[in-house]
Symmetry: D3
Subunit: 70 residues, 6 copies
């Protein structure tokens, strides 16, 4: 019955598979609960709906990109 939520960037199908497999194996081993009981939700979050340190992530990424060009 354990449930895992991942909030982060969109992953392609191969990476989604790997994340689900790895999270489930680790959590099953550490809890002693069999793997079929685990559900993993990959909840996509884009740069224009998340803020870090008080700034929209999109703004911060653009600022760093400009700085990186100097």
């Amino acid at each position: 019955m354990p449930t895992i939520f991942f909030y982060g960037p969109k992953l392609d199908k191969e990476k989604s598979r790997e994340m689900i497999k790895s999270f489930t194996e680790t959590a099953s081993r550490l809890t002693g609960i069999e793997k079929p009981a685990f559900v993993v939700y990959l909840r996509e979050s884009s740069h224009d709906n998340v803020g870090v340190g008080g700034e929209l992530l999109k703004d911060r990424m653009e600022a760093e990109h400009v700085k990186g060009k100097d």
Copy 2:
């Protein structure tokens, strides 16, 4: 003030109505809190962003579909 989140497949409008109505009536009756205080969020989850038993649900559905055809 109670809040209910449902993570699952997309529902059409009629089924969304029924789920919201039923969840709210049940929870209102059991908590003794009046219905207007309840909020229900239907959060869609598709087969390529959820994993069950360590596998992407999409892969599992396709495998079962193939097996079902045997």
Copy 3:
């Protein structure tokens, strides 16, 4: 694999059973997904860690209680 979260007051065991049973039956019927795939989390929320309308619920309850006594 669908998952339901309920944020609200603590329920005794009998009411917890009823809520879990009713939510699962309703959601199973509306989604067409079999009941064993459903997980319901009852996440307790007390009056001093929830706010409604900008006020701590505890304050609001006490204010209403006083008013109710007039």
Copy 4:
């Protein structure tokens, strides 16, 4: 490390910036934790996937709109 989730209507970029900035400043001041440690997620919720008082919000909005016209 604190994390804030906002479930509500879609905001334009300017309002998203303001919400993230204000939530982070308030929470940083009240917890004494530095701003870079805060993450804010704006999770959009539309009128056809949320229910209030047992009704789909879309239905309620339309009913109020009709009533408002009387």
Copy 5:
């Protein structure tokens, strides 16, 4: 109907009041939705059930404390 979740350290009653009041006023102003429709959940998270950068926060705090003493 918007809902805000705060995951972070436990706050005393006065700070809880301020956080709920400020989040609700900001969000009401930016969304144009009246304050009574907002619910804020303060979900406590302690140093031994949260990880940052791959480490238990408790371990990291203790390591920084020791370093700070040098």
Copy 6:
């Protein structure tokens, strides 16, 4: 900025460390985002506040225990 929530049984400190470390390393490798940006919340869920298949988990565990004794 990615965030991971684990809802499941309480873990001791050593297992909490391993889960946080493993989830963060896996997610960092798959997303290409550096480890310090990740936060993992371990949200404890006990047998009397979770339901599986429409039954309180506590009831199900006790029924299985009795059956296991036959």
